[in-house]
């Protein structure tokens, strides 16, 4: 576990495309620049979608990993 300061925890488990990215887009606006959102999801599509969303929006994907059915990831607001 790296030393990131988590500002917000987001539970996206059970939600399917496009809701995880929509919830992330809404949540990122609620934290300050530099702060990190920590989220968990179950939709396997998230493994591709969250990195893509980070590339298109310019936010930093701190980490993403899948363990069993749970995908955990962290995104830092950049702008």
């Amino acid at each position: 576990m790296d030393a990131v300061q988590t500002t917000k925890i987001l539970d996206l488990k059970g939600l399917l495309c496009p809701i995880p990215v929509v919830k992330m887009a809404q949540a990122i606006k609620t934290v300050a620049i530099g702060e990190v959102i920590e989220a968990t999801a179950t939709d396997p599509g998230v493994m591709a979608d969250i990195p893509a969303w980070c590339r298109t929006t310019g936010h930093e994907l701190v980490r993403i990993a899948r363990e069993d059915k749970i995908i955990a990831f962290a995104v830092r607001r950049v702008k």
Binding site: V21, A25, T56
Partner: protein, 171 residues
């Protein structure tokens, strides 16, 4: 009758190619509308400025639960037009059984219903335009459409946004 002024330009003309997506929604089937609103909400969440232009069967996605039509043929057509909750899938509808089946299956998997995706799209700032010509032909009035409809417009208004968009989709 009140004097009607022209709607404000959809976008600032000085913007060349911005981070925009234009979608022409021609189809009115449940599955195609799920795809359309899924892409629209996803694009809006990814920071794109999204405009959806609804034409012909696509107008059902914006229709209230009302009967439309003035003339005999217009009213006959009105019997076959649905709202977003009443449209069936493009394949295997089986006179409404398919619609029921798909709704059940989507519900079990917790897929967001298409009407909710539409609300979400509006919430995310997706601009929804209705095609004037299709409305005239199909005898659908502005008051038959939901309040989230931004403007009633024509091909030139749609093309103006399309020319400034990174991608344009026809569904």
């Amino acid at each position: 009758m009140a004097v009607q002024t022209a709607p404000a330009p959809v976008t600032a003309p000085e913007v060349a190619t911005a981070n925009k997506l234009t979608m022409i929604v021609f189809s009115g089937e449940m599955d195609r509308l799920v795809a359309a609103f899924n892409i629209a909400t996803g694009a809006a969440a990814s920071g794109m400025d999204v405009t959806m232009f609804f034409t012909f069967w696509g107008l059902q996605a914006l229709k209230k639960h009302t009967r439309t039509g003035r003339s005999l043929m217009g009213r006959m057509l009105g019997w076959f037009l649905h709202d977003i909750d009443g449209v069936g899938p493009s394949k295997m509808n089986f006179g409404g059984a398919g619609r029921w089946m798909f709704k059940q299956m989507m519900n079990v998997k917790q897929v967001t219903p298409v009407a909710e995706l539409r609300s979400l799209a509006a919430e995310l700032g997706v601009r929804m335009l209705a095609c004037q010509m299709s409305m005239d032909v199909m005898e659908i009035r502005r008051e038959d459409l939901i309040d989230e409809v931004g403007d009633v417009a024509g091909v030139a208004a749609m093309l103006e946004v399309a020319m400034q968009s990174k991608a344009t989709l026809f569904i």
